[in-house]
């Protein structure tokens, strides 16, 4: 159950639920059948991945936390945020962790990841440059996605 993963954090003590336990979530999901979500969150990422690393990391943590409580989550990458989903990322030379695994975890847990096509094109990128499972959408579709979700946050 969600309570297995959702532990209250005490002030200044090690925070058990500050980073979502993806392995525990995946195991629970595999034990479940099909489910219907009644509430959904849209997490918009507008920042480039490395150099604004905590924004991207924190955005996908919100997404995984929403999925952890049995609700639906969509990440929408716009502006420089499109770099988040580019495949073949290797930031090891600048001493930062690769984001790819966080994205794959999000998708494995049932999250949707959308990229605004116009932002992608303006950066010389296309669908072929993105990780598998990521979809490219139009500005009109972006508007409808925003309207379809119960709440949205921006990073």
């Amino acid at each position: 159950m969600a309570e297995d993963i959702k532990q209250p954090a005490e002030t200044d003590e090690e925070c058990a639920d500050c980073v979502v336990d993806v392995a525990a979530l995946k195991a629970r999901r595999e034990a479940q059948g099909e489910r219907e979500n009644t509430w959904s969150a849209l997490i918009m990422l507008t920042r480039g991945t490395y150099g604004h690393w905590d924004d991207a990391f924190s955005a996908v943590q919100v997404g995984n936390a929403v999925l952890a409580v049995e609700e639906a989550a969509t990440m929408l990458l716009v502006g420089d945020g499109v770099y988040f989903a580019v495949k073949g990322q290797d930031p090891s030379g600048i001493g930062l962790a690769n984001n790819t695994n966080y994205i794959l975890d999000f998708l494995d847990l049932g999250g949707r990841m959308l990229v605004l096509g116009t932002s992608l094109e303006k950066r010389g990128l296309s669908l072929d440059d993105l990780l598998e499972g990521v979809d490219v959408i139009t500005p009109a579709r972006m508007a409808s996605e925003v309207a379809q979700h119960n709440a949205s946050v921006t990073f």
């Binding site: 532990q7 925070c15 500050c18 924004d55 919100v62 929403v66 946050v153 990073f155």
Partner: protein, 117 residues
């Protein structure tokens, strides 16, 4: 009818106006009788770190006023730990909590507003 507003603050004070605007929005919503939650996330955890009195406008004073007027304020424990922001160094009444507290607030809110940049 009272509604619930949750504000996500991702940025710290002074370098921009986001922190001040977030708390001012919280205060205005309370003044109108709404339930208000403010979650300090990412660099937003620096806002409760403005603890001492200062001879100029500052987000610490606004946060204390917000707490006095019933705004619920929490901060991300992971973000605080990463920045060595301890509860001893922050305004009393703003607990360090996990991300699920924010998810709960999102779900019970009529509106969620982000201050980032």
């Amino acid at each position: 009818m009272d509604k619930t507003l949750t504000i996500l603050l991702n940025r710290g004070p002074f370098v921009s106006e986001y922190a001040d605007l977030a708390v001012k929005m919280a205060l205005k919503a309370r003044e109108k009788g709404h339930n208000v939650n403010l979650y300090c996330y990412v660099d937003g955890v620096w806002a409760p770190h403005v603890k001492a009195e200062k001879p100029y406008e500052n987000v610490g004073r606004l946060l204390r006023e917000a707490l006095d007027k019933g705004v619920n304020v929490k901060m991300c424990a992971r973000c605080a730990d990463a920045r060595d922001v301890s509860s001893q160094d922050t305004i009393e009444g703003i607990p360090q909590v996990g991300l699920f507290d924010f998810i709960d607030w999102m779900k019970e809110s009529d509106k969620v507003v982000t201050f980032t940049g």
